[in-house]
Amino acid sequence: MTETVAERFRKSEIAALLVRYPGLRLVPSGSMALRVEGTLRFCANGKKTEVIEDGFDVRIEAPENFQERMALAWETGGRIPRDYHKLRNGALCLGSRVGLRLQMGGSPSLLRFVERCVIPYL
């Protein structure tokens, strides 16, 4: 059965993303892509690393078929050098296709994408 627009939107967990990261805002793309922009403030720590608190200006876009195609993220504040792990369109090169899909675990959640793929890169 085809997924409805409302189901897809719910599974994207955008509402939870906006609550958890209040610096991000939904920006209509005019298409079926979902786009959020703004300041992504976070506090991250790895297994052995110290806690890092930081914030980056970003734009994130999830295509309509997010489960099959990966979302993209851009750092828009100019902090990350142009030649540092970026795709030809300027989006951040977040990882290999397989690696990113493993991180996403088949989920179309933008919240998961931000926390599993974007923040670790930043």
């Binding site: 409805t4 627009v5 409302a6 939107f9 955008i14 509402a15 906006l18 609550v19 958890r20 990261y21 209040p22 805002r25 939904l26 209509p28 793309s29 005019g30 298409s31 079926m32 979902l34 403030r41 976070f42 506090c43 991250a44 720590n45 790895g46 297994k47 806690v51 608190e53 914030g55 195609r69 792990h85 795709l87 030809r88 369109n89 989006a91 951040l92 090169c93 977040l94 990882g95 290999s96 296709r97 690696g99 990113l100 493993l102 991180q103 926390e115 599993r116 793929c117 923040i119 670790p120 890169y121």
Partner: protein, 392 residues
């Protein structure tokens, strides 16, 4: 000293005040509807024998107009002209043409510079004076008794069902044919329904205006004077929508979709602060999963979201707007940093908060504010993916 909720209430009040249009604009709109009505009923009118009745529609009728974002923007006025004539005696095409002749004569007689423009369902009259209006005037026939009975059988109260109309549409397959299968609508019934959703606040306000001798009787008070919490909440929601979709107006949620769902979701809250937040918390419950997605409560087959099935971007836009609006109406009134509140108000509503606004909220613009920011969310990174990749 204002409490947090008190600040929120006052913030929304001053916000909606700054979005409101002056009463003189409403009065001007009323005079234009009246002028057209008088024209259609004059001696020599082609439609006079059919007792034309002109009634305002849309946000000017409902009292939910918001100031446009651009200073030179054009205000949309809508009205419906209803004739007492049977569908069996005229085609849609003939009615539209007859009405068009009257509208063209009206434009000439009133020295209008641009000619009226025929649209799919209505005629558009462009006005160009110190306020830019265009008036979309919809010709219609009063619906027949059998149709009113059908609505009554579907639990639409008599008072609303009687206001149903048959309308013309150039895209209708039987546009030029003699048939009783016309499109139907009920904008006047919807306006009555929305008034019924305004609760006791409308009656209290009407009595207050009569006591102040601004109107002779409660029935003379126009809806735009009521300024009920429901109307104010709808104005705020529409403005938020306008700003959010300023770069993509073609996919912006329609005002009538927002108004319809807000009317359902409003639960009698006494002020705009509680009303708008309550409406946002409940409005998705009234979005139907099947067509009609957003039915007119006074004409259950009329779907205000009928375009969603052909263009799924429209539904996605509505859901996106609802998510962002829910966040903004929750977080803005809680901001205590004047700089942050100013910036957020500008971003979400395109409203410039003045120093006196901030002072009335107890937030002096020059005074250092004690700001408590919530900690950034903590993310545990266990096995990060390494930068690598191609475009797709």
């Amino acid at each position: 000293m204002l409490t947090d909720t008190g600040i929120g209430r006052q913030f929304f009040e001053l916000l909606v005040e700054s979005l409101d249009i002056p009463p003189s604009l409403y009065e001007r709109a009323v005079s234009r509807h009246r002028s057209l009505g008088e024209w259609l009923c004059r001696d020599g009118s082609r439609l006079r024998e059919f007792s034309p009745h002109v009634s305002p529609q849309g946000s000017f009728r409902l009292g939910t107009v918001v100031r446009p974002l651009a200073a030179d923007a054009v205000y949309d006025l809508d009205n419906v002209t209803t004739l007492m004539l049977s569908k069996a005696t005229i085609t849609q095409k003939r009615l539209k043409e007859l009405y068009g002749l009257e509208i063209q004569d009206y434009a000439t007689a009133h020295g209008m510079l641009a000619p009226p423009e025929e649209k799919k369902r209505c005629w558009r009259l462009p006005y160009a004076d110190e306020v830019n209006f265009h008036l979309d005037s919809l010709p219609s026939l009063a619906e027949e008794e059998s149709f009113v009975r059908t609505l009554r059988m579907r639990d639409v109260p008599e008072e609303w069902a009687r206001r149903a109309i048959a309308i013309t549409d150039k895209r209708h397959p039987a546009y030029a044919k003699s048939t009783t299968l016309w499109l139907t609508s009920n904008p006047r019934g919807f306006a009555r329904w929305l008034e019924s959703r305004m609760g006791t606040f409308a009656d209290v306000r009407r009595r207050e205006l009569v006591q102040r001798r601004l109107y002779a009787a409660v029935e003379d008070v126009p809806t735009y004077e009521l300024k009920t919490p429901l109307q104010r909440a709808i104005q705020l929601l529409k403005r938020h929508r306008d700003v959010m979709f300023v770069d993509n107006p073609d996919v912006a949620p329609l005002s009538m979709v927002l108004t319809n769902l807000a009317g359902h979701a409003y639960d009698g809250e006494a002020d705009v602060y509680d009303a708008v937040r309550g409406i946002l918390a409940r409005m998705l419950r009234y979005l139907r999963a099947e067509r009609p997605r957003v039915p007119n409560p006074t004409h259950p087959d009329e779907d205000y979201a009928d375009k969603w099935s052909k263009d799924p971007r429209l539904e996605l836009s509505f859901l996106q707007w609802h998510s962002q609006a829910s966040r903004d109406f929750e977080t803005l009134p809680a901001l205590r940093d004047p700089v942050a509140l100013r910036a957020a108000t500008k971003r979400s509503f395109q409203v410039d908060l003045r120093d006196d606004h901030l002072r009335s909220l107890g937030l002096a613009s020059a005074a250092p504010a004690i700001i408590v920011t919530s900690p950034a969310p903590r993310v545990q990174i266990s096995s990060p993916s390494r930068p690598w990749g191609s475009l797709d």
